[in-house]
């Protein structure tokens, strides 16, 4: 596993030197979606909660950066802490009200919250620019250079992966899995399931905000579609494509989705049709995602003792 990781790190570090401009743009887009997908899966994989409102966290971070840069003339990079704080706050509000519900009711409530934020961004022309959005947000320095933005996005992905890895092994990570596996049993060992699900939502939403910040750095603008349900759907599709059960599955799914879209769109305008067919094939033949095509490392257990 470590060899594979080291190999992947070397390939990713050298990649910008072998890509032309368009290829580099696709790679940045894949990394940003990878950050978003890994963050989303922190909630989905560890708690079983399927949020259809993560666009709210992603977009609120993006809008915070855009508003601070355009209206208050902040340095682009300096907006990151407030962008993350905005994503965390939005996640706290959505999570606080939504995690009381389960299954489809949870999903629908998260969707409703995100759509409300989208409606505000879409109609409030005086503040958010409405459906015209806010453009001309070229970040200075490292983030304004495609290679620099690629490495910043790669570092963001590494940080998010490291955070998720640490959380997974921590008591809080195990607690989240306990709540997912059997909430009643978790309560009966002294765990407040509600508190931990809100905490997971906030952490996942905050990391999604990092992706939102990078998205603005990449596209130099924000539009209400950052908050729209299709953004939430896109991250879910990336997770399905890659496989939510494997650690790097969502990031791999993001790469597959972005590269596939770039390739298909270069040949035909029927990308949604192709995506539908790919999803159909994945769900029918590879429900565990593309990572199931690779040999898996089995978790080691002690042998069963003889009776």
């Amino acid at each position: 596993m470590r060899t594979r990781l080291a190999l992947a790190a070397v390939v990713l570090a050298l990649l910008p030197w072998f890509l032309h401009d368009y290829g580099l743009q696709v790679a940045i887009q894949a990394l940003v979606l990878g950050v978003f997908a890994m963050s989303f899966n922190l909630l989905f994989r560890n708690t079983g909660l399927l949020s259809f409102g993560h666009a709210a966290c992603f977009g609120s971070a993006g809008y915070t950066t855009a508003l601070l840069v355009s209206k208050l003339r902040w340095n682009f990079a300096a907006t990151l802490p407030l962008a993350l704080a905005a994503a965390a706050l939005v996640a706290l509000v959505i999570g606080f009200f939504s995690v009381r519900l389960t299954k489809i009711y949870f999903t629908m409530l998260t969707l409703a919250f995100a759509q409300m934020l989208w409606a505000v961004a879409h109609k409030w022309y005086g503040f958010t620019g409405g459906d015209n959005g806010i453009s001309g947000l070229l970040p200075p320095g490292l983030l304004g250079n495609p290679k620099g933005l690629y490495y910043a996005s790669l570092m963001a992905l590494a940080v998010v992966c490291a955070v998720i890895h640490v959380v997974r092994r921590s008591p809080a990570g195990y607690t989240l899995r306990a709540v997912r596996d059997n909430p009643a049993r978790a309560e009966a060992i002294g765990i407040s399931a509600f508190e931990y699900m809100v905490a997971a939502f906030v952490l996942s939403g905050t990391l999604s905000g990092l992706a939102g910040f990078l998205q603005v750095a990449w596209q130099h603008s924000v539009f209400p579609d950052l908050l729209y349900w299709t953004t939430s759907a896109e991250v879910i599709i990336a997770v399905i494509l890659g496989g939510s059960a494997e650690f790097f599955g969502p990031a791999i799914g993001a790469v597959v989705l972005v590269v596939l879209e770039a390739v298909v769109r270069s040949h035909t305008q029927y990308w949604p049709l192709a995506l539908g067919m790919v999803l159909l094939a994945m769900v029918l033949f590879f429900p565990s995602g593309v990572v199931s095509l690779f040999p898996r490392r089995q978790r080691q257990e002690a042998p069963r003792a003889a009776a």
């Binding site: 092994r169 008591p171 306990a178 978790r299 257990e301």
Partner: protein, 249 residues
């Protein structure tokens, strides 16, 4: 003063009276059983005591403290260990991870998002001790998802023991077990409680097992108390004989 007192509790579900004006007192160090057929109200009473259901009427006191409307996750911190009828410990974790998590939950250390779970040496050591009490040391690194029902029950009891209980509540500890596993489980629970000195309240519909294990028994029937007493008193109770022991009064 009894360790657990239940005062005139009642519970209805959509107009159906599941439990009607039931009271009981469990003395410290005793083995107390709630007996009755399916639908008698045993599990409803269990869930009212453990805070899973809210009371319609009545009170529950533990060591003199009113815990009537206390949620389950807080009740554990009073010194009550709970094991459910359908023993489903956390299947994605090993036995050791399950019990270590329960130990850390009691110590309120599960809010740590950084340090690895098994690096808590004291908690892991205590978990190993509890696992050895329930006889699963050889299986501590096994995923619980792969264990048979009898071992799952033991893991579930280990989770309950992790809360250092003064009172252990077991809901149908013999449910789903084979005849041989039942006999083993009765012996195991008796030995465990003898060595730990913990008070036990358990529900069970297996009459013979209850008469073997309990020191005091309450018989529930259609949500009400039919009889209460020692195993000998219950054996000779005319209505219990007629209803459950298959003999004419």
């Amino acid at each position: 003063m009894p360790l657990l007192e239940v005062h005139r509790v009642s519970k209805s579900f959509e107009g159906f009276r599941a439990l009607n004006d039931v009271s009981l007192a469990v003395e410290e160090g005793s083995l107390y059983a709630l007996m009755g057929p399916n639908g008698a109200g045993k599990t409803t009473l269990f869930n009212l005591i453990t805070g899973r259901y809210t009371l319609d009427a009545g009170r529950v006191l533990f060591a003199g403290q009113d815990i009537s409307h206390t949620p389950t996750h807080r009740i554990i911190h009073y010194g009550i260990g709970i094991s459910f009828q359908r023993a489903i410990p956390f299947p994605s974790m090993t036995v050791l991870e399950n019990v270590t998590l329960a130990v850390l939950a009691l110590d309120r250390k599960t809010r740590d998002f950084a340090r690895p779970l098994l690096s808590y040496g004291d908690a892991a050591k205590r978990a190993e001790e509890i696992i050895s009490w329930v006889g699963l040391s050889d299986l501590k690194r096994q995923l619980t998802a792969s264990l048979p029902q009898g071992d799952l029950k033991r893991v579930d009891i280990a989770l309950a023991l992790a809360s250092k209980p003064r009172l252990l509540l077991l809901d149908e500890p013999l449910a789903g077990l084979s005849r041989a596993e039942r006999a083993q489980m009765v012996g195991f629970i008796r030995e465990l409680l003898r060595s730990l000195g913990t008070t036990l309240l358990f529900t069970e519909h297996d009459t013979e097992a209850v008469l073997q294990l309990a020191e005091r028994i309450m018989v529930l029937h259609r949500g009400s108390v039919l009889a209460e007493g020692t195993p000998d008193e219950i054996r000779s109770h005319p209505q219990v004989q007629e209803a459950f022991l298959g003999r004419e009064a």
